[in-house]
Subunit: 278 residues, 2 copies
């Protein structure tokens, strides 16, 4: 494989607050900015108890672009009442994104063990469609994130970029697109083609990176820093950029191992890994 | 989802020796036969130190059909020498299958962390092609088993039934087909279509079942007994049968949890679970 050009600088580097989970959002914002990071994706747990518009101003005062709010979704549920509650939570997420100044909410779409995947996918599409009025009034977009098939039981019935593209195409709204995460999608033999299609649809809303370690020892929290694993991150980034994407490169790492380390050292390592392997 | 008809009896039930891993093959054969199981798939570790033709006769004397030998594969390697060694091991597997009286060898195709998936797939196809003379002379067939994408780093670069079908179609030999395992493939939105295609290709060589537990806590050894998880096993079996498959339903469960239980009780539970959820 021809090695793609590494990122030239940090101008498109964004970190998810969960990547440095031990830090409160105020700490993360100051540290990210000092390290030269230019974007931040905010996980909702960091906003609990905060004045959200003031938090958004704090982030921008640090020179950080607010890239996304994580996360909404989890639409499938066994009863109409539970599905309505899921919609209410998504409406709160859209309102939080609007208050924070985040242009989009990332969706982990959900799945229900024992409910068929086609039924869950139908409930997901219906759930997103029901949110479009709030998207239109607020301007906040929704990014469907296809999740790795190992999460098809309980976290997402949308497991390939092809499926996410199909859903975005079918919903046919400028407010609905896709988040491409290399961790979830790197194995897919149709990935290059579907990334190009996502670009043609105008649906490529976000690009997330981390790495896949061998062995991986935890289904949720053992992602690797870029370069620690086998994902051809630069190759996939080159496909995403060929598809017309000009947004941030978001580093989203869940790792019990890395969260247990000194987060200042880790932040420095992220910046170096991004420049070498991002 | 309409519930498909459950299996009527045990006439097509096959167990993998690894499902009751604590048992030696002689014990497994006697217990399986007593429980009414009609087929056995033999893992190569159980043959170490055995007279293989005599072991095959022992299995048949118990009234068991020898369904498959597990396993060959692991073709990708960094050097020509290592790839040649992998071929030698596969030739030994074919010879063992022939000696045992097993009509086919199941292939876990392999992957090499850090080598691109397209390169690994090329090495897999070349490796299988190199074995065709041995298949022709022995009559032993090779069944490509697409593995779940969570194994794409180090166990198989063939992760969907579509890819396995493509490879079988391209190799175009009556000795090369596919093993369909619900654990690896249940999440795939193209599964029904690709099972039908596999049947049209005459390539549907094997059908494996187990279940996906929520949560799954180990990447390799936390499979569930049929009915313990979320896989629509009967639905997938109905697709396989609609595609013309008339072979055995092979129960292949790797489970530290279940291996730690009384294997006689477990065997009884397998039979009941097969009749209820298989």
């Amino acid at each position: 494989m021809t090695a793609p050009t590494a990122p030239a600088d940090l101008s498109r580097l964004c970190l998810h607050t969960i990547t440095t989970k031990p830090w409160a959002i105020e700490t993360a914002a100051a540290k990210f900015a000092s390290a030269g990071v230019k974007g931040i994706t905010v996980w909702r747990d960091t906003l609990v108890g905060r004045d959200i518009p003031a938090t958004g101003r704090m982030l921008r005062d640090h020179g950080l672009s607010v890239v996304s709010l994580c996360r909404g979704g989890f639409f499938p549920a066994a009863t109409p009442r539970d599905r309505a509650q899921a919609l209410d939570d998504n409406r709160r997420a859209i309102a939080e994104a609007h208050a924070l100044g985040a242009p989009q909410v990332v969706l982990v779409c959900g799945a229900l063990p024992g409910q068929s995947l086609p039924e869950s996918r139908k409930q997901i599409a219906e759930g997103i469609a029901a949110l479009l009025p709030e998207c239109q009034s607020s301007g906040v977009r929704l990014a469907i994130e296809p999740l790795h098939p190992m999460y098809a039981d309980s976290r997402s019935a949308v497991n390939t970029l092809g499926q996410a593209n199909d859903m975005a195409e079918s919903l046919n709204s400028p407010h609905v697109g896709v988040a491409v995460d290399v961790y979830h999608l790197w194995w897919d033999p149709t990935l290059e083609r579907e990334i190009a299609r996502c670009g043609r649809l105008g649906a490529l809303f976000a690009f997330h990176m981390s790495d896949w370690r061998t062995p991986t020892v935890d289904f949720l929290n053992d992602r690797g820093l870029m370069g620690e694993g086998c994902i051809p991150i630069g190759q996939i980034r080159s496909w995403v950029e060929s598809a017309g994407f000009t947004g941030f490169h978001e580093v989203e790492i869940f790792s019990n191992r890395l969260w247990a380390t000194d987060q200042d050292v880790f932040l420095g390592n992220i910046v170096q890994a991004y420049l070498a392997h991002g």
